[in-house]
């Protein structure tokens, strides 16, 4: 009995501080989101759903599911996903295709799919699948990054194919997020700067062509460049968002006292929740969110740097990039610095699929962080890769080494 207790205690101790910090930041962001969703959705919820707490209830359910999923994922050794990544990607590609054929149309996009009574967005799953797949391919072949041409078939084709399917939802924001994340992963994997510059210029050109060839995208983009040119339609959301932020001032109008949520901001609790935070809690609130995401990014990158193997490194880096890139795209849109692409603020915005997938990917991050060698927390950067790999193989070996120490 005594031994067992000791064992449990030791096991707990093996989790590094960074694990708890990440968990803490995640909880804070999610709670922040729940509070703000309640505040910003209550009036809409009452008129649309006849229940002031409709969106709170749904988000709470998503949070509960998401936290359970996160916990489960955090207990699964991430290395097991390496071999499954190709299957994972194949699965999301088929789901994406399914959505295109028979998806539920919401807000003019067919992003949702109903499966066993639950609606969710396959593009959310695709984000994670692409990260897993890319990390897996890049870690399998260490020399692959030396010649960018050799990446075209193993990474380029599947990623592009998935992206096109996401784009066809149409979900421009998520497509951007996926492509930028993959680009960042190539960068961290050691791709030559020359190749990356080439890739990014090609991507930029393709992006511009894509925006300019569809009227509604072009309108949105031009509205972003000059919101006042068309304040009634195209620039409306950007202007209303800025009005919300400005109304908040430094201290905010107070929790629950947003005025912009009364129809002026079309999606006050999803894509534009940050604007409502800005209005109700002011610059203080928005700065807090930004600091939380900076800390999140810092922790994620640290976890990546300390990951026991290359797959873990790239996976952690990819997941962190994905969450931060989405946050930046969202914050950029809300503050009028980037065009509006319909990306939620990770962990904060209302939305089941996005929240659950984000929490699941944080579960992966947590697992990677708990897989790192304990010593690594003390002496960063000098340990050999062999020992780390041996240490990080399984929790069992770690606990045994702990016992022997």
């Amino acid at each position: 009995m005594v031994k067992k207790k000791k064992k449990l205690k030791k096991k707990k101790q093996t989790k590094p501080t960074i694990y708890y910090l990440l968990l803490g930041i995640t909880f804070i962001l999610v709670l922040f989101g729940i509070v703000m969703i309640t505040s910003s959705s209550s009036s809409l919820a009452l008129s649309r759903q006849n229940d002031s707490f409709y969106y709170l209830k749904r988000q709470s359910l998503s949070v509960a599911i998401g936290l359970v999923v996160m916990l489960i994922v955090s207990l699964i050794d991430y290395r097991k996903f390496k071999r499954l990544s190709i299957i994972f990607l194949a699965l999301s590609i088929s789901l994406l295709s399914f959505v295109i054929i028979s998806g539920t149309v919401i807000y003019g996009s067919s992003r949702w799919v109903a499966l066993m009574g639950i609606t969710f967005q396959p593009s959310e799953i695709a984000k994670l699948a692409v990260i897993f797949f890319t990390a897996s391919v890049l870690s399998n072949n260490k020399e692959i990054t030396k010649k960018i041409n050799s990446l075209l078939v193993p990474i380029g084709l599947p990623v592009l194919f998935t992206s096109i399917l996401v784009l066809a939802q149409p979900d421009l924001g998520t497509t951007f997020a996926i492509l930028i994340t993959v680009f960042f992963m190539l960068f961290m994997a050691g791709a030559r700067i020359r190749d990356l510059v080439m890739l990014s210029s090609a991507g930029f050109a393709a992006g511009m062509i894509f925006i300019m060839t569809a009227a509604h995208r072009r309108e949105r983009f031009l509205a972003f460049l000059d919101p006042n040119s068309d304040p009634k339609s195209g620039g409306f959301q950007i202007i209303q968002s800025l009005l919300a932020l400005g109304s908040g001032g430094v201290g905010g109008v107070g929790l629950g006292f947003s005025r912009q949520k009364f129809g002026y901001l079309p999606t006050p609790f999803t894509d534009f929740i940050f604007a409502i935070i800005g209005e109700e809690l002011g610059l203080v609130g928005t700065t807090m969110i930004i600091i939380l995401f900076i800390i999140f990014g810092f922790l994620g990158i640290k976890i990546a740097q300390k990951a026991p193997d290359r797959f873990g490194q790239l996976l952690a880096g990819g997941i962190t990039s994905m969450i931060l890139v989405q946050a930046i795209i969202n914050l950029g849109a809300v503050t009028g610095m980037l065009p509006i692409t319909g990306i939620p603020l990770p962990l904060v915005s209302f939305g089941g699929s996005s929240l659950i997938i984000t929490l699941a990917s944080i579960g992966v991050l947590l697992n990677i962080s708990s897989s790192q060698k304990r010593r690594a927390t003390r002496k960063v950067g000098i340990e050999g890769s062999n020992s780390r790999r041996r240490d990080g193989r399984s929790r069992l070996s770690r606990s045994s080494s702990g016992r022997s120490a």
Binding site: S247, G249, I290, G297, F298, I301, S321, V325, A327
Partner: protein, 570 residues
Amino acid sequence: MNAKKRQTKMRLSLLFYFLLICLVAVFSKLVKVQAMDAKKYEEMAVGQRITDHELTPDRGSIYDRNGEILALSTDMDTVFVTPYQIKKKWKSAKKIAAILGESTDTIFEKLDSDNGFAYLARKIDKEKADKLKELNIEGLGFVKESKRQYPLGRLASHIIGFVGLDNIGLSGLEIQYDNKLKGKPGKVITEQDINGYPIPGGKNTFIPSTNGSQLILTIDKEIQYKAELELSAAIEKYEAKGGNIIVMDPKSGEIYAMASLPDFDLNDFSNSESENFRNTAVTDVYEPGSTMKIITATAILEEKLFSPDSKFMLPGSIKIGGWLIKEAHGRGTEEFTLSSIVTRSSNVGATHIGKVLGKERMIKYIKRFGLNSPTNIDLPGESIGSLLSADLWSKSTIATVSFGQGTSVTSIEMIRAFSVIANHGVAVRPHLVDQIVSTRGKRTSLASEDSNVQVVSPRTASLMTEIMEDAVGTGTGKNAQIEGYSVAGKTGTAQKPNTDKPGYSGYIGSFIGYAPAKDPAIAILVTIDEPKGAIYGGVVAAPVFSSVGEFALQRLKVTPDQVDKGDKQQ
């Protein structure tokens, strides 16, 4: 291998810094929006959700001195259209036109306009509005608008005046007291969501409107009616161009009646000639003629140059400054008294005493009697009589001014001057509004005695009254007699100067007087502009004075002062 690891770590760090820079950029934008430009955005946000809706107050009513209503505001229906909401425009236009009695084309044009708003018809009958409502055409809107109504139509039209479509006073007392009558608009300020519904817990301010104050006039509706009736009868009889009548209390300046003909219908002023809108008793000047001899004679008595019994041997005509002054009715050389110069209205006599008075004193008394300054009556557009300045007087000017030619006055100035004599030498301010009653019932009396000044001594005034009593009793003003009352007054027959060329053409016959002579309750001025057939004030104007005066004295329950005398005469 280690190099690769280090490179990855370094690149991860670089990536973090890149993400950090992006987030810091967002933060700096937030500082700009939420701190530096916050006011601007906040104002815009407030501007888009705060709406003001004005509540129009009721315009105050106007009553005569006995509470008879002269002007009031009633709610009428106004129909407007939101053109883009109208379906089947031509069909709708046809139906609407049939009800409003307008052409389908005009209505269609309004329904088809590019504006978001157009009036279809303003202030229409409830009946028509109800019929339009029954059509159930989407895009038609109905609001209540206050419409000014004048139940007595033409009566006192120049005094009351009228308002425009937007209920702003345009003439008469309606413009003079516009600030008091119009009231203060109220406001409903609401904070609205994007669909125009009030935001729960949002700002919701209601400032009630304050209705306009009511005016209680000095006018007596019945006297006004009688005055207008008699004046128009005289004008008709003598085919005159027009005329004025003013009935005033000489002691207080309260005006019982004031009319200028031609007049107009207050309820249909837009179809009247704007020429008729002028209240000529106040806005127009005329050369008074013989009524001016009262001023000359008063000045002589006040200056103690002669007494009423002073005798003068007067020729049939007199030459002065190259002009031959003649009498209205030719005569030989005769003996006159100062009194008979007035009662027989002798131009030669007036010239004679005028010369004795001299131009300085003549000008002084004209000014003291207020014939060259506004009476400050509470009506818009008051003119003042003109008087040549002393250095411009020619040799004949003293002669013509003495009997009322070559100088001009307004009717209101003239009745005020006569009232000075009636009122024992004290001038009063003529006025039309007795009291202003606020919606809360607060009464403000406008009568003030500040402007009352002693112009001539009571003795002079009573001597003049006696002379004028003779003028009515035995002189030119016999037609002005009122049974049972002593009357003092003076006739006037003046040549009208041409407006476009030198010289005179046409006449103005007038009579100004008051009764009872010793303690007057009323002073009346009557002028008849360009009468035909007869021109003399004693013929065309004095009878109007008599009948209106009799009516007014009875209505005001003034005790007759000559009952015995009248009986004896009979």
